[in-house]
Symmetry: C3
Subunit: 269 residues, 3 copies
């Protein structure tokens, strides 16, 4: 029997205005009174699988080894889409099989992917609209008590993944990225990593560049928000090493009027 | 001395933008450092007792036996309205005596109702505006440590209840329900249960029906959100077995422009 | 080796729409799996140090002795502003040295203030934008495991404080206060304490007074919200003994159209 799971995290689009998250926790504690639960975030935009995948990507690695991450963003709840359990060397993940774990698959560290079919671990009757309560929470709780992954269902290989949008090269010398995420502060997080940028910059003899975002051009990367004067747009490598755009004491997304998907162009000079 | 309480839940209208919920937890931990606390929801609309009663109704049963549910939606804080402790076979409830436990009384499982008068368990001086901190949290904490309910105050029978709005029969063949709750996704939750609906439907020889909500007519009940095409309004039995109205990948409440209290008419054909 | 810390609280401007708070907790649990964490509030207005200071002021004292309060509102993250550890007789505080602990300094109970320089306790590489994760969370976790404050860095005396706005006397008989805080219910919390008011009132032979806020005049202080009729503006001493302005079943801030900083004038008659 495997060691019990130390921690369960929850990442959902349930919001905090209803009872959904509280009820999931109630179900977990009913099964495992010793469970420890941490909220990663419940304000994923309704049914936005890509946003949830991104939030998981920048969060999961900061938790103790053997943490079980439960992700419930599930537009197809009530259909035949499968609940799955994914094991990597360091973590477990439970989610609907809708691509929300695509970043995890991409890490190359995935060991097993199982379809969860052991319905005797579900809460019955299973509703058509709230598998967070009836499927994902109870399975997470049983797993956290030490139930073996192999007893939850068989291995599968045809799980869904979507292609993570990565920066592309345009006209040889322009790196084209996209805004992936906008946070509470209005910081615009692109999909251009420090590594992407550095490799691209190596194409410029003088290491000079212009970054175009919205209607602005930037020619340097700052080391802190305060390097910009108040109200100035700056580029900075954020806490997950993505190139971000921020305004010191302001809101870059609102000021520039940009949305997720907006283009970022890095041109070496 | 009774067994300690395993879990305390909190359901309030305090929101999460202030310190109120955090302070209640501090008070609980000061008295019972081993307490385990779960948030059901803190975003009840300010002073909306009916909404809190509904959220409690669809949540309380998913928690471990002997959980203590603390409900603080309290428009009359600072007056002589009584704090009460209600015990059922499986749970404890602490709340102001303002009807917020009406659904619980309706279950028929209520054993004792006590007025909480043992003010030596309160935090002193008791403020006029924050009994969540000064009355409900400390009493919950002491109870969770094993203080006997009987030591908190005497039994009462004249506690407040309001009549839960139930569907009514109009013109013999029309069942008239109301929207009770609207969730984050814009799902419209009515007070028509699966049982209400099934019994009503038995009046139709062909089991055919029309459901009217807002300006729409529906003639079937779906088994999952995705049975509707994108943007289509559907009827479905939700996670608490109430008839709900949803739009696949949309927001039914916004699209139909409906509020709590809106009529739902089920006519057999 | 000192006794372990029983509880860690978090007070930030990170909001709940992103992963920031969840990640801080993950980091804490990685270092101290036995940590107990309570959220005071994460919805401080972005970078509003004064608001965070106020929320800490009305919260910290309700937690168990030896609680470690972690405050992360940090407009200068990534610069040379110092992380500090403050010890009082009853509590610990970790925060950026930007004045957010000014109310704590004012209590006169501060024992030690240390600059946190022991970077081997940080999460490496330390990002330029998220010291909540890389500096404050791990240091809090190590401290909660029993690491001695003295091992975190040297004592300092030149920490930043700002002057807490206090009521002032205008024209001898008028006490001029300011709105410090507006809560979820629209209650307007002034910086006039019960003590300030009582002392001022002693100047009136008949103990009569007029309080002016916005375009309204009030001549009494109520003992509960419900002493006002529905929609009436009332003055009341709130849960932290500040003079507050509320509307029974209404929102005083919206009705009066007032913001933080608005004047409150108390004139004895």
């Amino acid at each position: 029997m495997p060691e019990p799971i130390p921690l369960i995290t929850l990442l959902t689009d349930f919001g905090l205005q209803d009872h959904y998250v509280g009820v999931m926790k109630g179900v977990i504690y009913q099964i495992n009174p010793q469970a420890r639960i941490v909220d990663i975030c419940h304000n994923v935009r309704p049914q936005d699988i890509l946003q949830a995948a991104f939030l998981l990507r920048v969060s999961y690695g900061y938790f103790p080894k053997r943490t079980l991450h439960v992700v419930v963003v599930d537009p197809e709840v009530g259909t035949s889409r499968r609940p799955i359990l994914v094991s990597t060397e360091s973590y477990y993940f439970i989610a609907p099989d809708n691509g929300v774990l695509s970043y995890i698959y991409q890490t190359g560290s995935v060991g097993e992917v199982r379809e969860i079919t052991a319905s005797h671990y579900f809460l019955h009757p299973v509703s058509q609209t709230f598998h967070g309560r009836d499927v994902f929470a109870p399975v997470a709780a049983w797993l956290s008590r030490g139930v073996a992954p192999s007893s939850l269902g068989d291995l599968i290989t045809d799980y869904k993944k979507f292609t993570i949008p990565v920066p592309t090269l345009v006209k040889e010398d322009i790196l084209l990225g996209r805004i992936l995420y906008i946070d509470r502060f209005g910081n615009l997080v692109s999909n251009i990593t420090r590594k992407n940028f550095t490799e691209h910059l190596n194409k410029s003899p003088g290491k000079r560049f212009v970054i175009r975002i919205g209607d602005r051009n930037l020619t340097r990367i700052c080391n802190s928000y305060t390097e910009g004067s108040e109200g100035e747009l700056i580029a900075i490598f954020g806490s997950s090493d993505f190139l971000e755009f921020s305004i010191n004491k302001g809101n870059a997304a609102k000021t520039l009027g940009l949305q997720i998907g907006a283009e970022v162009l890095c041109k070496v000079a």
